[in-house]
Amino acid sequence: MLKLIGAIFILMATTWAGFEAGRNLSRRTRQLRQLKVALQSLESEIMYGHTPLREAALKLAKQHSKPLSLLFESFAEKLSDGGTTVKIAWDDSLEEIWKLLSLKQGEFEILSQFGETLGQHNRYHQQQKILLTMSHLEREEQDAAERQGKYEKMFKSLGFLSGLLLIILLI
């Protein structure tokens, strides 16, 4: 009886771990898509709305859902506190939020490079930079979608099967 309960616990734990690993992949795709949409609306805020960066960031924070909105929220907060350059504020908020996102190191580099150009040029240069960042993110998103299609199912069944194997070995 006790063995059975233990076996069920092991199976549940490994299955959950597998599902979590699979979900991580789909989270990455979703967050990249959201990030692209956010950059698009940032572009339109800058180009057509002539909105200051802080207000644009606040608007973006309102538009998006949890993990990504925190990035823009803390960015806006740091900007309104003042005393830093835009680049440092962006980098700091990026690093703060990074643990909550399921993105990879490559995306971090892209975003931190984007922060370097933020608020330094006129609008047309800024638009060019946003478009460049968006095309980088596009490529990463394709990569993420490919990985998701390939590995999501594998992680799920791998978790379950490795649990089953562990149970058989331990009995």
Binding site: Y151, M154, S157, L158, L161, L165, I168
Partner: protein
């Protein structure tokens, strides 16, 4: 006798699960991991069988050589 039937089922279970793992890893293109998994499953079963065969040899020795 009961123990031996148990062992046979265990080997069968390991075989089935390892076969599934191999198929899944093969499908997503992780051929080398698939081969490692199969190899480790095989080695594990080999050890199990070796211990059973050792039991058998001990029994034969005790029957024919009159030891413990």
């Amino acid at each position: 006798m009961g123990i031996e039937v148990d062992v046979i089922f265990k080997i069968a279970g390991v075989g089935i699960v390892v076969a599934f793992l191999h198929t899944i890893l093969d499908q997503v293109g992780k051929k080398e991991y698939a081969q490692w998994v199969t190899l480790f499953g095989f080695i594990y079963i080999l050890f199990m069988v070796a211990s059973i065969v050792e039991d058998l040899f001990q029994k034969i020795k005790s029957v024919f050589l009159f030891q413990g």
